[in-house]
Each structure stands twice: as structure tokens, then as C-alpha cells.
Amino acid sequence: MAVTADWLYDAIAKRQGVLVKLANISWLLHAEGVAFCPAHDTLLVSDLHLEKASYLARSGNPLTPLDTYATLQRLTKLIALFKPAKVICVGDSFHDVGAFTRLSSGDRAELSRMVEMPTEWVWILGNHDPDLPADIPGKKRKQTIVGNIRIVHEPEQDAAYQVVGHFHPKGKVSVNRHRLRGKCYVLTENLLIMPSFGQYTGGLDVSDAAITRHAPKAGRQCFLMYEGAIYTLNERTRKT
């Protein structure tokens, strides 16, 4: 494990992360969109949506096909920073079932190198990637467990504690009349919703019913990521 207490302390002081508890375990929610669990030396990341640009390009949008490259670059850097024993991708790692076959040879090699970095790599299957081809290195699972927390792409009824992806939460905050928008973590007593990590992933506002259904405003905290820093979102409950 590369992460030390001093390093963590420094990161938090610089607003690069916040420390939260879920199921009585500490988690560092990092401002670049990954969550680290020191107790289990595990790094979580969600919704990479690799090859989204090439998917959209097929329907006529001449998007630059750089999203996979950019996403892998960013994630590799973070893995090198945390040096975790285990990395779990919380679903929708590939934008569609054909995504893997569209990877450029360079990106494919980069992906393989990245998966070899930790001791263990787990792909959680999501609604965008319900099937992953056998030649992708790493384990493929519908769900997995960290401590007593279930890691699964979409929330399930029967879990006591769980970490999910899927929703791409984003939020906005006003500072000195400037409005800042950014992707968010959403945390309740028993649920953590991860922000989407993929380069070309959009977001769903945290006030959307799809999110409040699982994380009602009353009992949650949102952490907004903005240009390398993380802020607590102050959600005023609106007067009616």
C-alpha cells in the first residue's frame, strides 16, 4: 500500500479528497472520481463508458475518438498514485457490448497494462456491458463484496450496505455568484453512489427523482468535484 496517513491528511487538506464512513469503514472520496478504501486496499471506479465516442460516431456524430485514450490515461495515473491491491470497476466500463472490439490496438495494450497493475482486478457488469468477452483480462462479476459492503452496478433491495454506479450524479453549487457544476458522490447511511469516470459521460442532477428515490435529500450528503477539488454540496430543501 502506497497511501500513508500523512499523504491522506495532506490530500484532504488540499481538498483533493474527503474522508467518509460507510458500514463503519473509512473511504477516501477522491476529487478525480475514484474512491479508496484503506482498510481493504481497494480502489473503486465506475462508469468508464469506454468507446462511447466511436459508438455515437456510428450514428453520424463526428466525435473525436479520444475518449478511451483519455479515460485510460487518467485512471492509470490514479492507480499509480494509490497503488491498490485491488481495483473494482463498478459497471458500465464499456459503453456497449461491441466496444471491446472497437478498441484501437494502442488502447487495447494500454488497457491490458492497466489491469495488470494491481494484484486483483474486478469488472462488475452493468446495463451497458452485461457481457464481457473472455479475452478481457480481469475477473467479471455481477457483484462483489468489500468488508460487509456489496459492490454492484445498480442498487439492490436486499443489501445492508452497497456501493453503486449507474446514475452519473452531478450537482451545482453557488460560490460568490459563480455557479459551479460538477460530478458528484452521493452518500447515505447505507449507500454510496459513485460519480461516472468516463471522459465523455454526462450526468444526472442529484435532485432527479431517479437518485432521490434511493438517496432522499433528508438523509444524504453530496460531494461535488470541481477542477481537482472536492466540495460538500449544501442542499437546501426547497420551500414549497
Binding site: S54, P62, T64, L66, A70, S104, Q199, Y200, G202
Partner: protein, 817 residues
């Protein structure tokens, strides 16, 4: 053969008209192959003159198929012109068919028009481009003889004009003998437009109609106190109302939609007699606007409060007074507005200018002087916007297989694009084909494929379909329809507001729209639901991009008036008093130097730069100066701008040595570079460029779930390109666009070079009279959506302004009472 056939001569005689010299001139010019530009004042019968040669020709040799294409910048104008055109056709019994074709034309009619086109087709630039993308475009335009571009002065020097010039170039390549006729209001330099109208290197011949009668323009002299700042002219409402009362029919022009709503409200509060006064702006629903237009045409209205939406074309007949509320911003623009009154050439139009604050009074006087002297200002031509080229290339490829070299020729044949380099063209072409990324090893999605002859064709139907749905250059901010509820959820759509404004509302909030106070209820199905209510402090929707900077020409005139004391006599008394106080307390800005005042205020130091270079250039200057002040450790806090000047507040005082280091053209180097890369400005430009160039589609409201996949923010693409493909052509296109449209860099650079070492720093104990309006401009740093805010705070500001003036009077020992 007499140039006007008897049937036409009879018709003219019957109407009691005689053929005017320039109309004769247009008929003669029609027989030459050269393109023609007709420059005539409003009310001269410009449009009829444009059509006359076509009607005569079609009458002499009736035919099937398209003969004349008429292009108007306004959809509404095509309907109006169509009605006016049918009148002579019917009355003379000509065998000429004329139809309109716009985005509103039903598809069965469009189909029919393609198979069996009318002799004269009235359309918009966007519809023309769409027609040019059809596989049968050659058949449609084969016999076209003439194309008329109306209100040409309003499209030159903007993106829509660039777009139109490319469409014209393409049209000329399909029908080489085609003759272009431009119709323009009176402008400063017709040569500019003549070059634009002709193809590259072949400017159009100019037919100019002198305007014999100068308009009668006056500045309001109110008994009420004119405020120092603010834009709503509340002080003048009773005067405006009295003017409406005395006129038969009156057009009240304002500069922004927010002003329109508020002035309309205030006038109704004055409306003791219950005069029929209406409201007109571009965000009201089409039905609302049609209704107002019809009432106006029927003579049922006494006044309309309007934005520029009523500036162009449509003939209102009986308007006998035009009132301009707020600064005119440009002489040509003001003339266009004034021309809406009294559509007869031989009688003067009557206009009243109502400055909203004292600086605006100077600007009004400058405009009056210019009109008196017969001077006009005009937009300088600028190179065409590059983001339109991918759209154009694809448009050509949707029509037929294209030869890369031919398309380059057609592009450079359009005057705004004459200097496009082969290199840039190749890059834009590559972008159009496959996204144009420099990175290797990626399988690319091809929009254009090469056929056996080596020509490029659209890859498939989807590409063509997607392109056709996205033709145009107008990128709209997300908008929501406003539904005015009456009972339950029943109601009517009365217009649109920007999504940005809607997001600021919470249920129960009230706002002013379409002239009444509405209470916000909810957003349902892409509509903002609201019902009539009485509310305190209603908000006013603001619209991005409503403000025009003052023209350089007017700015120079304002400086001249300030400098020449003989000119002061013409100004309203309150303005005169204000200038005299300024002279006693500080200095009056001179034309050859930039006056800089510094004084302590609100516990910080304020520096006032009197540049007179327009809002946009001042905004940019503010950004750059504050950056450099940061480096000099002067701790700048904030700045605000008006058309006249820039005010910066900082914790430290500036010395004259520091000032010299600040006010240098080299801030356009380092500081500009730094700032451009960090500012959200480039992202904003990139958003526009991404849509126009076809990278992404118009962004729809986020609740449209089906579109969500495609419409993730273009900011993400921008960031990705910046970091991983920094040489991508769209980045440089976005940059050029920002420099042009958002920064006014050219004007700023001119000023910085002109005034190097020519700044005068004056240290004052208190804020000067002239600084008050600028310091108090609360729109500082929060350009968007701040209009409403400004309004709510205005009352307090006036009180503050008065207090400051009192202090100054005291300091000066009561020399002016």
C-alpha cells in the same frame, strides 16, 4: 422599346405613382450582367424596385420554372413581401406565380414546389441552403436568372451573412449566369456591401437613392430628475406617455427584451386613458406576435413597445412617431428604427430619443449630430466564420458527388472567404470527412466517402438526414415554452424563456412576461407552467446576447462633444450640470488621451478608465488589466464595465509608474494567452462552433431523455481535445470566433496602441461625478442573467448616487447649486 411596358405604366398611373429615377435605373441595370446593389432609405419602395425587372421580364416572356429567388433574413418578412408582391401581380393580371418557402412551409407544399416551382420563390438563407442540398437542386435552379437579397445590411458582417454568401456562391456555380440584386437601407460605406454581394474580385454596381429629407430627431427634455445610472428610463415614463397621447401611432423601441417588458409595464401604470399599447419581442409566441401585427396593420393600436424584432422591413403605414428609449448604440441602427415612422420619402420622420442616464444623453446627442451631418456608421467587414465551412462542404456533398478543388474555388469565390488558405481548407475537409483527429490508429467513422471518380459523397442516408436537420448558424440557448394557465392545467403557450432563467425560479416566484406578472408553478413536459398573479418584486427574464456595444463612430462623437464646450449647450440642463461638476472636480476626458481617475471608495481603491471603446472591448480590457494588477501585487477585487469606461477596485493604490506598465499593448500577449486558456470563454465559443460545424447537434433540454446520450456537454470534448489533440482545427476555429465575437480584440488593440504613454492619472479624494454611473453599474462581472438583479437594486443605487453628488457639491464649496 420603352423600358416600362404599357401595362406597368398604366398600373403606376392608376396608383398615382410615377416611375422614380432609381427604379428606371434598376430596370436598365437588369439588362447588364453585373450584380447590382440598391441603397435606398426606408420607404422608398425598395422591394418593389427589386422585383420590377423580374415582373417585366416574366410578363414579356411567360415561362414555367424558377426565375427569381428572393432571400430575406426574416421569416416573417417573406410572408409580408409575398402579400405586397401579389398585389401588383393580381392588379395587372400578370401570368406570374409567386410563393414562399420557409421552415414553416408544410412538407406537401415543399414537395410540390420542388416538382413544379413558382416563377418567384421567397425564402430564407437556411431554406435556400436546404434546397441546395437536394439531389435535384440542379433541376430546380437550372433556369434561375436572378436572386434578390433583401435587408442585406443586416446580414453582412455576421455569421448568417457568411452562411448566405456561401449559399450564393454555390447557387452561382449551379446557374452561372445568375444575377444578384442586393437591397440595402442607407449605410455608411455601400462599397463594403457591394464587395460582399458580388463574387470575389467582382463587386456589385451601386445604385444609390439619396434621402432628400432629414428626419426630425429630438432628445427628451424631462422635468424629472435624470438618473446617473440604470437602463430603464423610469423617470421619463410620464413624458413618453404624453408623447404617445399626442401622436397618432407610435413605435417605442428599446434595446433588450427585459427593457421591453419593463417599459411596457411602466407605461401601463401611466395609462390613465387606457390607450391600446402593445408589446412585441422575439420571445413571444408566434400567435401573439401575429395578433399584434394584425392589430397594428388595422390601425387599432396607439403604440407598440418593441425590441429590434420590428426593426426590419414590414411596413406599418401610419406610424408618425418613433421613440428610442435608451442609448442608440449606432447611427445606422437608429436611422433604421427612425425610418419606421412615416413611410413617405418627402416628409421627415419624427423621432424622440429618451436617454436612460446621463452618459446616454451624450450618446443621444452624438447620434443627433451625426444624423444632422448625414453621417452613418457601419460594421467593418470581417473574414467569414470557419465553422460554417464543414457544414457547407457537407451540404454540397449531400447534393451530388463533389470535387475537392471545385468546392475550394466556390468557397473562395464568396467574398468573406476569399482569403481561406488551402491548408485550412484541407483541415476542415478532413474534419468533415472523419472528425479530423491527428491521432493515428483509430478506426474512423466516415461521413464522406470517395467514389470511383475520386469525388466525395455523403456516406449514407443518416448522414444526409442529420445534416439537413441541422442546417443554419443560429445556436439557441436552451429554451422553455411558457404556458399561461387559467383553469387547472389548461392554458395557452405565450412565448419562451431561456432555460437558465427557468432554473432560477422556485415555485411561488413571480416574474414579468408578455406584459403581465405570472407566478411560477412548475416545469412540466418541456413547458414552464405559470398563472397570472399579483406579486411583489417580480423577476424579469434576461436573454443572453441582448446587448450591442456602442459603435466606434458614436464613441468618437461622444468624445468630441465632451471636448468641445460649445457642444455642451445642446445638452439637457441636468447633463450640463453634471459635466460642469466633473470639470470642477476632476477633468473632462479628451480625445487624444485616456483619462484615469483613482479614488478611495467603499474601503478600496477604484480606478476609472475612460476608454469609450464599447462594452465588449472594456470587458476584455478589464480581464487583462486585473490579471496584470495581480502580478503587480495590487490585489484587484473586481471590475465593472459600461460602453464608456471600465472601473476596477483593488486593495492597493496604483502609482503613475504602475499605470504606465499596465496600459500597454503587450497585455495582449502574455495576459491574453494565459487568460484565454483558463477562461470559460473559449468553451462558450467551442459550444457554438461544435454545433455549427456539425460536431454535435443543438443541445436540447435535459429532460428530453432520448437525446441525452448525444448531448453530453461539449465542454468535455473541448477538454479532451485541448489535452490530447491540441492542434485540432476546431480549437483554432473556436479561438478565432472568441476573439471576434466575444472580445472585440481588434478594437482593444487599436486603442492600446493609440494611447501608449498617453494616460492621465488623477488622484481624487472621492468618486467623481462622471465615475458614478460606471461605479454603480451593478452588472459587474455577472453579465448573464444579471439584468433582473440590476433592476431590483436600482432604487437603492439612485439614493447612493444622490448622496455621493451631495458630497462632491460640498467639496467644491457649492460652486454649482
Amino acid at each position: 422599346m420603352p423600358i416600362l411596358p404599357p401595362r406597368f405604366a398604366d398600373w403606376f398611373a392608376h396608383r398615382g405613382w410615377t416611375l422614380r429615377d432609381y427604379q428606371l435605373e434598376m430596370l436598365r441595370a437588369a439588362t447588364t450582367p453585373q450584380h447590382t446593389l440598391l441603397v435606398a432609405p426606408t420607404g422608398a419602395g425598395k422591394t418593389l424596385s427589386g422585383f420590377l425587372p423580374s415582373l417585366v421580364e416574366l410578363d414579356a416572356s411567360p415561362r414555367k420554372g424558377l426565375h427569381t429567388l428572393y432571400i430575406s433574413p426574416l421569416k416573417a418578412l417573406t410572408q409580408d413581401i409575398h402579400r405586397n408582391l401579389l398585389e401588383p401581380i393580381e392588379q395587372m393580371g400578370l401570368e406570374v406565380t409567386a410563393e414562399t418557402r420557409t421552415g414553416d412551409t408544410p412538407s406537401h407544399k415543399r414537395q410540390r414546389q420542388r416538382k413544379n416551382p413558382p416563377n418567384i420563390l421567397l425564402t430564407t438563407p437556411e431554406s435556400l441552403m436546404l434546397m441546395l442540398s437536394y439531389a435535384d437542386a440542379r433541376v430546380l435552379f437550372d433556369k434561375l436568372e436572378r436572386v434578390i437579397i433583401d435587408e442585406i445590411h443586416s446580414v453582412v458582417a455576421n455569421k448568417r451573412g457568411d452562411f448566405t454568401s456561401l449559399a450564393l456562391s454555390r447557387l452561382s456555380s449551379l446557374a452561372p449566369g445568375i444575377k444578384r440584386i442586393g437591397l440595402s437601407a442607407t449605410i455608411a460605406e455601400p462599397e463594403t456591401i457591394a464587395s460582399w454581394l458580388g463574387n470575389t474580385g467582382n463587386p456589385a454596381e451601386i445604385v444609390e437613392v439619396p434621402s432628400p429629407v432629414k428626419p426630425d430627431v429630438n432628445i427628451l427634455r424631462s422635468m424629472n430628475r435624470m438618473p446617473f445610472g440604470g437602463y430603464m428610463a423610469k423617470y421619463a415614463m410620464s413624458d413618453i406617455y404624453a408623447a404617445i397621447e399626442n401622436a397618432k401611432t407610435c413605435l417605442v423601441f428599446v434595446n433588450t427584451r427585459a427593457q421591453a417588458e419593463l417599459v411596457f409595464q411602466m407605461l401601463w401604470e401611466e395609462n390613465r386613458l387606457g390607450l391600446p399599447i402593445a408589446l412585441y419581442h422575439g420571445s413571444l409566441s408566434k400567435e401573439q406576435r401575429r395578433k399584434t401585427e394584425a392589430m397594428m396593420a388595422a390601425g387599432q393600436l396607439r403604440a407598440i413597445v418593441s425590441t429590434s424584432a420590428l426593426e426590419l422591413g414590414i411596413d406599418w403605414g401610419d406610424v408618425d412617431l418613433v421613440i428610442q428609449v435608451g442609448a442608440p448604440k449606432g447611427v445606422s441602427r437608429l436611422m433604421q428604427r427612425i425610418g419606421r415612422a412615416n413611410h413617405r420619402l418627402d416628409e421627415p420622420s419624427v423621432a424622440l430619443l429618451v436617454p436612460a442616464n446621463r452618459f446616454e444623453a451624450l450618446e443621444c446627442q452624438a447620434a443627433v449630430d451625426a444624423i444632422e451631418a448625414g453621417q452613418l456608421d457601419g460594421d467593418a467587414p470581417q473574414p467569414g466564420a470557419m465553422d460554417i465551412l464543414p457544414q457547407f462542404i457537407l451540404n454540397c456533398a449531400c447534393h451530388e458527388p463533389i470535387d475537392v478543388e471545385e468546392i475550394y474555388q466556390q468557397i473562395t469565390d464568396a467574398a468573406p472567404y476569399q482569403a481561406v488558405s488551402r491548408e485550412d481548407y484541407q483541415k476542415l475537409l478532413a474534419f468533415t470527412r472523419d472528425g479530423g483527429s491527428a491521432l493515428q490508429g483509430y478506426e474512423r467513422y466516415q461521413r464522406l466517402l470517395q467514389n470511383e471518380e475520386g469525388k466525395l459523397v455523403a456516406a449514407n442516408k443518416r448522414v444526409i438526414q442529420r445534416h439537413r436537420q441541422n442546417i443554419g448558424t443560429i445556436v439557441e440557448a436552451g429554451r422553455l415554452k411558457v404556458k399561461r394557465l387559467r383553469r387547472g392545467n389548461q392554458g395557452t403557450i405565450i412565448g419562451e424563456v431561456e432555460e437558465y432563467f427557468a432554473q432560477q425560479l422556485t415555485p411561488g416566484d413571480t416574474f414579468i412576461f408578455a406584459g403581465e406578472v405570472l407566478q411560477y408553478e412548475a416545469i412540466r413536459d418541456m413547458q414552464l407552467h405559470a398563472r397570472p398573479a399579483k406579486g411583489k418584486d417580480p423577476k424579469i427574464p434576461s436573454y443572453v446576447g441582448g446587448q450591442m456595444p456602442m459603435s466606434t463612430f458614436l464613441a468618437d462623437n461622444v468624445k468630441r462633444i465632451l471636448h468641445d464646450k460649445n457642444e455642451w449647450k445642446k445638452l439637457p440642463e441636468q447633463v450640463l450640470e453634471w459635466l460642469q461638476l466633473q470639470e470642477g472636480f476632476s477633468q473632462i476626458p479628451t480625445p487624444d488621451r485616456v483619462l484615469v481617475e483613482q479614488f478611495p471608495f467603499r474601503k478600496t481603491f477604484y480606478t476609472l478608465f475612460y476608454t469609450f471603446e464599447g462594452r465588449m472591448a472594456n470587458q476584455t480590457l478589464g480581464m487583462l488589466l486585473t490579471r496584470r494588477m495581480e502580478k503587480l501585487k495590487l490585489k484587484p477585487l473586481s471590475f465593472s464595465v459600461t460602453d464608456y469606461g471600465l472601473s476596477i477596485s483593488a486593495l492597493k493604490e496604483i502609482s503613475s509608474a504602475q499605470l504606465a506598465a499596465l496600459f500597454q499593448p503587450d497585455i495582449l500577449g502574455d495576459e491574453l494567452e494565459d487568460w484565454m486558456l483558463q477562461a470559460p470563454m473559449l468553451k462558450r465559443s467551442f459550444r457554438q462552433v461544435a454545433v455549427v460545424s456539425g460536431l454535435t447537434e443543438q443541445r436540447y433540454h435535459s429532460s428530453q431523455k432520448t437525446m441525452k446520450q448525444v448531448t453530453f456537454s461539449t465542454d468535455l470534448i473541448y477538454d479532451t481535445l485541448r489535452e490530447y489533440d491540441p492542434d485540432h482545427i476546431l480549437l483554432s476555429v473556436a479561438r478565432a470566433d472568441a476573439e471576434r465575437e466575444l472580445l472585440d480584440l481588434r478594437r482593444l488593440a487599436d486603442m492600446l496602441i493609440r494611447y501608449v504613454g498617453k494616460t492621465t492619472l488623477i488622484n481624487l479624494p472621492k468618486v467623481s461625478p462622471m465615475a458614478i454611473p460606471i461605479v454603480l453599474d451593478v452588472r459587474s462581472e455577472q453579465i448573464k442573467g444579471a439584468g433582473a438583479h440590476a433592476l431590483l437594486e436600482q432604487a437603492d443605487l439612485y439614493a447612493e448616487a444622490e448622496a455621493m453628488m451631495d458630497e462632491i457639491r460640498e467639496l467644491l464649496g457649492g460652486s454649482h447649486s
